[in-house]
Assembly symmetry: C2
Homo-oligomer: 207 residues x 2
C-alpha cells in the first residue's frame, strides 16, 4: 500500500496514527506531497482523487481510496487488531458520531481558520478572513463540548481509545497554528491529551 | 425509534430516504423540530446531542445517535435489506468515500451558502455573505466532478443505488434554495436524477 500524505497536514496524520496503532507503518510507503507547490493538483493525482486532497491510499490492486474517515474504517476492517472503529453496530455508530462531531466541530473549523486567515492556498481559493475568524471562534466553542465529554468519559467516544481520539488529537495539534490551545479551562482535555501523547502512535505519526 | 427531523432540511432527509428505501418509515415516529424557533437549542435536546443538530435518532433503549452518516450506517447494519452502505470492506470504503465527497463538495457548501446568504440563523451565528458566495461557487464547481462520475457510472458510488446517491439527491434538491440547479451542462446528472426521482423513497422522503 502507498499513502499519499503531506507533512504536518492533520487529515493524512489521522491515517498515519491509525497505521501506527496497528503496527502497520512499515507495510505502507508514505509519499509526502508538497501541497504549497500544488502536487495534489496535478493531473495524475486528480485522476485518482477528483477532490484533489490528501490523504489518499493506493491499494496494491491499483484502486485508490480517499477521505480519512473512509480509509481508517477500511483499514480497521482489514486489520482488526486493535479495534478502533467499534465492534457492534451501536458501538460503531457511537464512535462514528463522535468522530464526525470532532471533524465538524474542530477539524474543519481549524482548517478553515488556517486557510482563510493565512491565505496559504490563495493561488487556488479566495480567502475570506472574516470567515476564518468565525471558524476560530467556533473551534474554541467546541472545546467546551469536548471538555464536558472528557469530564464524563476516559476517551472521546467512551472508555477506550478510538478513531475519534485520533481525529481530536490531529485537530488539536493543528489548532496551534491558529493560536487555539487548551488551557486551564480544559482540565479533562489536558488529562486525556497527556495520556494520548504517551502512546507510541503519537510520536510515530509525525511523519 | 424516534427520529428528530426538520421540514425541508437536507441532512435529516438523508435518514428519512434511507428508512423509506428499507420500508421502515412506519416503524419510526418522526418529530419535526422548528429550527427557526430554536427547538434544537433547548436544553433537553442539547443534552442528547451537544452539536444541537438534526437528524437525531432516539433508540428504544434511550440512547440517541446523531450525524446522518453515522445514523444511516447504523440502520443499514441493523436492517440489511436492501444494502445501501456496501458489503465488502472495499465496497463500504468506496461508498463511504463518495458519500463524503458529496457531503464536503456539495451538501456542506450548499448549506453554508444558504445560511450565510440568507441570514436564516443570524440569531445564533454571524453570517459572512462573502463566504456564502464562495460556497455557492464551489458547489457549482463540484457539479462537474459529479457529472464526470455519473458519465462513467450508473450511480454516484458505482453501479447501484447507495447512501451516496441519497446524500447527493438531498443536497441537489436543497441547492435550489441558493439558485444552484443542474442544467444542460449536466446530462449525466439529469439522467441519474430522473431515475432516482422515480424511486418511491424520493416522494416518501418529503416529510
Amino acid at each position: 500500500m502507498k499513502l499519499y500524505s503531506a507533512s504536518k497536514a492533520p487529515s493524512p496524520r489521522r491515517v498515519v496514527m491509525l497505521l501506527a496503532e496497528k503496527s502497520l507503518l512499515d507495510q505502507v510507503e508514505i509519499v509526502s506531497l508538497d501541497l504549497a507547490a500544488g502536487d495534489n493538483l496535478r493531473d495524475e493525482f486528480v485522476q485518482q482523487n477528483p477532490m484533489a486532497k490528501v490523504p489518499m491510499l493506493a491499494l496494491s490492486s491499483g484502486e485508490c481510496l480517499s477521505e480519512a474517515g473512509a480509509i481508517n474504517r477500511y483499514l480497521d476492517q482489514c486489520y482488526p487488531e486493535p479495534n478502533l472503529c467499534g465492534v457492534s453496530p451501536l458501538e460503531q455508530a457511537h464512535i462514528d458520531m463522535w468522530d464526525r462531531h470532532v471533524e465538524i466541530g474542530l477539524l474543519y473549523p481549524v482548517g478553515m481558520a488556517f486557510q482563510h486567515g493565512s491565505g496559504f492556498f490563495k493561488d487556488r481559493m479566495t480567502p475570506v478572513p472574516a470567515w476564518g475568524q468565525e471558524c476560530a471562534r467556533s473551534a474554541v466553542a467546541f472545546l467546551q463540548v469536548l471538555e464536558q465529554q472528557l469530564a464524563r468519559h476516559a476517551y472521546v467516544a467512551g472508555e477506550r481509545f478510538t478513531v475519534a481520539d485520533i481525529t481530536a488529537l490531529c485537530a488539536l495539534d493543528f489548532a496551534k497554528v491558529i493560536q487555539v490551545r487548551i488551557d486551564d479551562r480544559h482540565p479533562s482535555i489536558q488529562r486525556w491529551y497527556a495520556e494520548c501523547q504517551a502512546r507510541p502512535s503519537y510520536a510515530a505519526s509525525w511523519q
